[in-house]
C-alpha cells in the first residue's frame, strides 16, 4: 500500500467534524451553549438543563453519532428509554419516594385545586389547534401546562415524538421560571385580605391511611384510565416504599441514586433529540409561546378555584395555595409561601400548599391519561411499548 503524507493529511482533515458542520448544527450548538449558561450561571433547573444542554451539544457536533436517531449510537440507546416508556415512570418512582402525601390526605379538598389547575392544559390545547397543530400534537403541547416534565415527555413520546425536544425544553424551562411567572398572576387575581388568610393547622394522619392510599388510588385511577398505569403506578409504588416502613433500602435508592441516574439518562436523551431538523422550526417558537400560556392559565385556574374555595369555606382557605396546583413540586408550593409572607410575615402556607402541589402531580397524570385514552393507540396488545419491545426481541432472536 502506497503511503502519501499529503493524502494522509487530507484524509485526517476530511474526517474531522469541521468539514462536515452545517449551519443548522452551528445554531443548535449555540442553543446548547445558551442552555448550559442558563443552567450553570442562572441556576435554571440545573439538574435537567445542564445534561439536556450538553446532550444537545454532543448530538449536534458533526460525525459524533450521538443524535437520538443515529442507530447504534450511545444516545440512541438512551432514547429507547423514552420511546419504550421506561425513564419517565422511573422518575415518577423517585418522585413518589420523595413525596409526603400527608398534607393532601389531611385536606383532601385541595385535590380540586390540582384538578382546576389543569385548565392550563386545555386552554393550551385549544390554542395549539388554533395555531394549526393536530389534536395529538396539541394534546402533547397542552400537557406542558401540567408543569410536570416526566409527564410531558411521556405523552409527547406517545402522541407527538417529533415534537418531544421543544416540548421537553419548554416544560423544564418554564418550570424553572415558576418563581417569576406565578407571583404577578397571584397578586393580580387576589386581594390583600385573601392573601392574608391564615389556615388552620393540618390534622395528623394515621400511618395506615398513608399506606392504604397509594394502593387504593392506584387501583381506582388505573381502572378508570388504564393508559396512565406506568406513570401513576410507579408514583404510588415509590410512595408505598416510603410509607410502608419495611423497604428502607428501596426507598432510599429510589429517592436518591435511582432518580439521579434516570435523570441523567432522560435529560441526555432529550438533549440528543434536539437536532436542527426537529428543533429549528416555526413549530418550536409556537410551542415556546404556548408553553408560557399554559403555565399562566394553569396558575390562574388554580388561583380562581382557590378563590371559590375561599368563599365556600367562609374565608378559611387562602386562595394563594391554588397556584401550587400546577405541580412543579415543591417550587410552586414555595412560591405560595413566599407570596403569602409578603402580606403577612407570620403566615406559613408551605404545608397547606403541598396538598394542591401533590394533587397537581396526580392531576397532570390523569390529564395525560385522558389524552391517551382519547388519542393514544386503542389496541392495547399492539400499542404497548413493552409488547413492541418483546416482539422486537423475538424477531431478533428468530433471525
Amino acid at each position: 500500500m502506497d503511503f502519501s503524507f499529503q493524502d494522509a493529511i487530507s484524509k485526517i482533515l476530511h474526517s474531522t467534524g469541521f468539514v462536515a458542520i452545517e449551519p443548522g448544527q452551528g445554531v443548535m450548538i449555540l442553543i446548547a451553549l445558551i442552555l448550559l449558561y442558563l443552567a450553570i450561571w442562572k441556576k435554571f433547573e440545573p439538574l435537567l438543563l445542564l445534561p439536556i444542554g450538553f446532550g444537545c451539544l454532543l448530538a449536534n457536533l458533526p460525525l459524533s453519532m450521538l443524535a437520538n436517531t443515529d442507530d447504534g449510537g450511545l444516545f440512541n440507546f438512551f432514547y429507547s428509554g423514552i420511546k419504550h416508556e421506561i425513564l419517565p415512570p422511573l422518575i415518577f418512582l423517585g418522585v413518589g419516594a420523595l413525596t409526603d402525601f400527608g398534607p393532601l390526605l389531611a385536606n383532601p379538598a385541595t385535590l380540586c385545586l390540582g384538578a382546576a389547575a389543569q385548565i392550563g392544559v386545555y386552554t393550551t390545547l385549544i390554542g395549539a389547534v388554533a395555531l394549526g397543530f393536530s389534536m395529538q400534537e396539541a394534546s402533547a403541547i397542552g400537557i406542558i401546562g401540567g408543569a410536570d416534565g416526566p409527564t410531558s415527555i411521556f405523552l409527547a413520546a406517545k402522541l407527538a415524538p417529533h415534537l418531544l425536544a421543544p416540548i421537553a425544553v419548554a416544560a423544564y424551562s418554564y418550570m424553572s421560571l415558576v418563581p417569576l411567572i406565578q407571583p404577578p398572576i397571584m397578586r393580580f387575581l387576589t386581594t390583600e385580605k385573601e392573601r392574608a388568610v391564615k389556615m388552620e393547622q393540618l390534622k395528623p394522619i394515621s400511618q395506615t391511611v398513608k399506606i392504604i392510599f397509594p394502593i387504593a388510588s392506584t387501583v381506582i385511577v388505573v381502572l378508570m384510565l388504564p393508559p396512565i398505569a406506568p406513570l401513576l403506578g410507579m408514583l404510588m409504588l415509590g410512595n408505598l416504599f416510603r410509607e410502608s416502613g419495611v423497604t428502607a433500602r428501596l426507598h432510599d435508592t429510589s429517592q436518591t441514586h435511582l432518580i439521579n441516574v434516570v435523570t441523567i439518562l432522560l435529560a441526555l436523551a432529550v438533549g440528543s433529540s434536539m437536532t436542527a431538523d426537529t428543533f429549528l422550526t416555526l413549530n418550536t417558537i409556537k410551542i415556546i409561546v404556548l408553553g408560557l400560556l399554559a403555565f399562566c392559565m394553569a396558575t390562574a385556574g388554580g388561583i380562581l378555584f382557590g378563590k371559590l374555595m375561599y368563599i365556600l369555606s367562609k374565608g378559611k382557605i387562602n386562595p394563594l395555595i391554588g397556584s401550587a396546583g400546577v405541580s412543579a413540586v415543591p417550587m410552586a408550593a414555595r412560591v405560595s409561601q413566599k407570596v403569602g409572607q409578603e402580606t403577612d410575615k407570620s403566615n406559613f402556607l408551605l404545608m397547606h400548599a403541598m396538598g394542591p402541589n401533590v394533587a397537581g402531580v396526580i392531576g397532570s397524570a390523569v390529564a395525560a391519561g385522558v389524552f391517551l385514552s382519547l388519542f393514544g393507540s386503542g389496541d392495547a396488545s399492539t400499542g404497548h411499548a413493552a409488547i413492541e419491545t418483546l416482539q422486537t426481541i423475538t424477531t431478533s432472536l428468530g433471525q
Binding site: L105, P108, G114, V129, A130, I212, A216, G363, A367, V370
Partner: protein, 90 residues
C-alpha cells in the same frame, strides 16, 4: 382557521373526567380517614424516679419537662433519647 369545536369538546370532557377521578379520590381519602383516625402514639414509659417528680408537685414536673425539652433542643436530640435518671434538689 381550524375548527375549535373538537378541542373545546375534548377540554370540557377531559376536565369533567379529571374532576370525577379526583372527586372519587377525595371520597376514598375521607372514608379512610373516617374509619382509620389518627391515634397519638402512647407516651414513653416514665423513667424519671426523681424524688421531686414523685412528690406530686405539678410545678416541679413542668420545670423538669421544660428543662428536658431545652436540653434536648440544645443537644440536637429527640426528647425521647434523653432519660432522666436522677434529680437532686440543692
Amino acid at each position: 382557521m381550524p375548527s375549535l369545536i373538537e378541542p373545546i369538546q375534548v377540554s370540557i370532557l377531559a376536565m369533567a373526567v379529571i374532576f370525577l377521578v379526583l372527586g372519587i379520590l377525595i371520597v376514598v381519602i375521607k372514608t379512610l380517614v373516617h374509619f382509620l383516625p389518627y391515634t397519638a402514639p402512647p407516651p414513653p414509659p416514665a423513667r424519671a424516679s426523681a424524688p421531686a417528680a414523685a412528690s406530686g408537685s405539678s410545678q416541679n414536673e413542668d420545670h423538669i419537662a421544660a428543662i428536658h425539652a431545652a436540653l434536648a433542643h440544645h443537644l440536637g436530640k429527640s426528647p425521647q433519647d434523653i432519660h432522666i435518671s436522677n434529680i437532686t434538689s440543692l
